[in-house]
């Protein structure tokens, strides 16, 4: 590993450590009694956090359920970053993917599972790809910036999905939700524990990360994506079709977000809810950032954030507000984004000849 690669790993890790230290100070500060009491309180808080995330089978399952969509939206945003496009629209692509997949899955009762399940995923991915592809197409042909167009597409998606589940595609009962999908389209469970279940969606998400790794590092396509991201002029000079690559990258990015939504619908809720995406698309931006746009980094970041979120419920029982986890997450993201700060804190910023 050269120094640059090493830094890419070191910066998120150090950011995590620093943010945990800051959170510790806050926990000690809000604790009561003597200093040793407060330390006990701190230890208790973190113990509960870890227990809540990994303490028993249900906890582990909940962590995995939380991290699955984060992996996919993280990959979606991370892949876009590699080609120099900033896909802020994973939220909308996730919703559109989930809605379209659900519509298909609701009507898939006549198909056997081994056809219905993959077909539903393909439909969801296609819907996400088309939704993101619109922004890619606009960027490639008119130069419209994808940040603007994907934000606008998010709003359109938000309104379309809301209209669908409150109107024509409503299951009744006054809740904005769709009818349940056909049982042949439901993802089988990988683990169950008491009343909880966990579908094999995590395996699909991990596979997606491996596929993205292979695309980025082993294929000519990944080579082109990275060349376009680093220097579109040189890419063009090297015979790479920059417009095509931007559209394709956006479509792949949207397909991943669409898959995230599909797995939520077919593996967890068995239907489409108006709140299904609820910010997980935006979480993808944070995950991609912490994972440094590397597929395996994104897996690790999703595990971290998934675990923190699951564990935070349990931590509340120890008397620590759940929001501490939001603070931890925000500080990590802040430090990773402002990597120079970490370098300064660590004294790596000394001009050792680096430009």
């Amino acid at each position: 590993m050269n120094k640059k690669q090493w830094m890419r790993v070191a910066i998120p890790i150090i950011s995590i450590i620093i943010s945990l230290l800051i959170a510790s100070i806050i926990i000690i500060w809000i604790g009561e009694g003597s200093f040793t009491d407060r330390i006990d309180f701190l230890v208790e808080a973190y113990t509960q956090l870890i227990k809540g995330a990994f303490g028993n089978k249900t906890a582990v399952m909940n962590t995995i359920i939380k991290m699955t969509p984060l992996i996919l939206t993280g990959l979606a945003v991370g892949f876009g970053f590699r080609a120099g496009v900033f896909n802020i629209g994973a939220e909308g692509q996730m919703a559109m993917g989930a809605l379209t997949a659900t519509i298909f899955a609701v009507n898939a009762a006549s198909l056997p599972s081994f056809i219905a399940i993959p077909l539903t995923m393909i439909v969801g991915m296609l819907a996400g790809a088309v939704w993101a592809g619109i922004a890619g197409f606009l960027k490639a042909t008119t130069g419209a910036h994808e940040v603007i167009s994907t934000i606008m597409l998010n709003w359109i998606a938000y309104n379309i999905t809301n209209w669908a589940v409150t109107g024509p595609f409503n299951a009744g009962g006054g809740i904005p939700k769709s009818p349940e999908i056909a049982s042949s389209a439901k993802l089988p469970n990988l683990l169950t524990s008491q009343a909880s279940f966990m579908s094999f969606g995590i395996l699909i998400a991990i596979t997606a990360a491996v596929v993205m790794y292979i695309i980025l590092y082993k294929t000519s396509m990944g080579y082109e994506v990275k060349a376009v991201g680093f220097n579109p002029f040189a890419a063009e000079y090297g015979g790479i079709n920059v417009s095509k690559n931007i559209i394709v990258t956006m479509a792949i990015s949207g397909a991943l977000a669409g898959l995230a939504g599909t797995l939520e619908a077919t593996g967890l809720y068995y239907r489409f809810y108006g709140t299904l995406s609820s910010g997980k698309g935006f979480d993808g931006i944070s995950i991609a950032l912490i994972g440094q746009n590397n597929p395996f980094g994104i897996l690790a970041a999703s595990l971290l954030i998934g675990a923190l979120r699951t564990g935070s419920n349990q931590m509340q029982f120890a008397g620590v507000p759940k929001h501490i986890v939001m603070i931890i997450q925000s500080i990590i993201i802040f430090l990773v984004a402002a990597e120079r700060m970490v370098m300064t804190i660590m004294g790596w910023n000394k001009k050792k000849g680096a430009k």
């Binding site: 050269n2 120094k3 640059k4 082993k218 294929t219 000519s220 396509m221 990944g222 080579y223 082109e224 990275k226 060349a227 680093f230 220097n231 002029f233 040189a234 890419a235 063009e236 000079y237 090297g238 015979g239 790479i240 079709n241 000394k350 001009k351 050792k352 000849g353 430009k355």
Partner: protein, 523 residues
């Protein structure tokens, strides 16, 4: 009298003494125990091939890098220069290879930037800035229009602005890192006049270059570097370009290439009435026609900005052609994409290396794969063949002497000359039918220029058709079989190298026809 190595008691007469400087980069020892002695009031040239360590040495003097070992004495006093502020405080100013100016701001604003005169309430005082800039500009005879925007003035003038900027901050010791690399011959002459004026005003000048005739023309003493070490220190009067070249390269070099006589073959590239617009959508190439035959080098001479770069981009598919046809090997490529054109057998050394010819974040190996990354032997069924990419890159890096020969290094860590060698290696390896070669030796040193020139001639020997676009008249004259002179988007005329002189060519580049140039040159 040989070069005088001063004793410690003489250091007070020396503007700069650097002793035992060592600078280790992760993969290269860029400065290996370097001593440098610059007498106060002299113009001291530092020459060396690309990657010799010249910029690294100067960056330490200016406080951009910290030395691993060694000491720096300014006017006899040892001081620690930790950052450019320290350097400026002791009167050192540096003009970098790449200018650091702000395009939309005026000349005066750029010069005072960072040290702006202010009036009440700490507001920027433009009037005073203009006045002060005018004053120093007159004082040193560096003429500039203080109100012109940087983006509207020529490169030569921008350089003048950089020099003024250092003077404005009170520099007595000026470091100029390859100042002539971006200048036309006329601008270089003007720069030399400026340098001599500054010397007469008592300034000390450190002038980095690898053009040896410039060293002879302007310097008092020369320090030669090779591979991070000093390989020669000599008063300019006592040396010659030949001797300097040998010290620089470490072997005998040919300063001029020998071209064999050769009959050109059949037409490969035919351009008819080509019209191309520039970035502002104004006509840049206004209807040019020419053809190139197998085994022929067609030179295009011209002052920068007369349509050559638009012509280059249009031929290689990077820029839209407004009108006209381009036929390549019997196929119409007027609307072909860059990939189609490469597939048809045309390769391209782009003038703008940083923008077009490389992805600086990619490794050397990946840069060598650029343009062929999707096909055999670099890829197989959509998958990159890293084993082949690495093997081919290793071979090319060795053959083209790219230093350091580390194919997994990011290209941005190579010096400019080595980046260019990498680009040239890739484009030569295409086995093209035709090659568009633009400013191939800009910023390169003698050894590399010699190498690239002889490789271009080898290609000609192998019957490749070559379009050579260059601002270096000597390069055009020594390599081309025929020369077209471009002026304001049109071709002023066609000449052969043995029927024109450099002077006549220079006049044609300024808009004269051959006849006019002849009669003017006679006067």
């Amino acid at each position: 009298m040989p070069f005088h190595i001063p004793q410690e008691e003489e250091y007070k007469d020396y503007a700069v003494v650097m002793k035992g400087i060592v600078k280790q980069f992760p993969k290269v020892l860029a400065n290996d125990n370097v001593d440098l002695y610059i007498k106060r009031g002299e113009i001291h040239a530092i020459v060396g091939e690309n990657g010799a360590g010249k910029s690294t040495l100067m960056n330490q003097l200016y406080g951009l890098y910290n030395a691993d070992a060694g000491k720096i004495l300014i006017n006899g006093k040892e001081i620690a220069i930790d950052n450019p502020k320290d350097a400026i405080a002791v009167g050192i100013g540096m003009v970098h290879q790449h200018f650091m100016l702000v395009g939309p701001l005026s000349v005066a604003e750029n010069i005072v930037l960072g040290d702006e005169p202010t009036k009440k309430f700490n507001l920027f005082d433009l009037k005073r800035a203009r006045r002060e800039v005018k004053k120093i500009s007159e004082e040193y005879g560096l003429k500039v229009d203080v109100d012109a925007k940087i983006e509207d003035i020529s490169v030569g003038t921008q350089q003048r602005v950089e020099i003024l900027k250092t003077l404005f901050r009170g520099a007595d010791i000026l470091i100029l890192d390859e100042p002539t690399a971006v200048l036309t011959p006329q601008e270089t002459e003007e720069l030399f006049v400026v340098l001599r004026n500054l010397q007469n005003d008592g300034k000390t000048i450190i002038f980095i270059t690898h053009k040896l005739n410039e060293v002879i023309a302007v310097s008092n003493n020369v320090t030669v570097m090779r591979g991070g070490k000093v390989t020669g220190q000599i008063p300019t009067k006592e040396t010659s370009t030949r001797e300097l070249a040998n010290m620089m390269v470490g072997r005998e070099v040919l300063l001029r290439v020998e071209k064999e006589k050769k009959e050109a073959g059949e037409k490969v590239l035919e351009v008819q009435d080509l019209k191309v617009n520039d970035n502002r959508d104004l006509p840049a190439v206004k209807g040019v026609s020419f053809d190139i035959r197998k085994g022929e080098i067609l030179g295009i001479a011209g002052v920068a900005g007369n349509g050559q770069s638009e012509l280059e981009d249009a031929l290689t598919g990077l820029r839209k052609k407004i009108a006209g046809t381009v036929t390549f090997n019997g196929v119409d490529i007027s609307t072909a994409t860059p990939r189609d054109i490469r597939e048809a057998g045309m390769s391209h050394i782009a003038a703008d290396r940083y923008k077009y010819a490389m992805v600086k974040e990619f490794t050397v190996a990946y840069n060598i794969a650029l343009g062929r990354h999707y096909k055999q032997p670099f890829a197989d069924g959509g998958f990159l063949n890293h084993r082949k990419i690495n093997a081919i890159s290793k071979e090319l890096v060795k053959k083209f002497d790219v230093r350091p020969p580390e194919i997994q290094l990011s290209a941005e860590n190579l010096s400019g000359g080595n980046q260019q060698k990498m680009v040239v290696a890739r484009e030569f390896d295409y086995n093209p039918l035709c090659m568009v070669v633009s400013q191939p030796t800009r910023g390169l040193d003698i050894g590399a220029i010699e190498f690239i020139h002889s490789t271009i001639l080898d290609l000609r020997q192998e019957d490749v058709a070559i379009l050579l676009i260059s601002m270096e008249l000597e390069e055009i004259l020594s390599l081309s079989d025929r020369i077209l002179v471009m002026y304001e988007g049109q071709i002023m005329g066609e000449v052969t190298p043995d029927e024109v002189t450099m002077e006549e060519l220079g006049l044609m580049m300024a808009g004269s026809t051959l006849e006019e140039a002849r009669s003017e040159a006679d006067e």
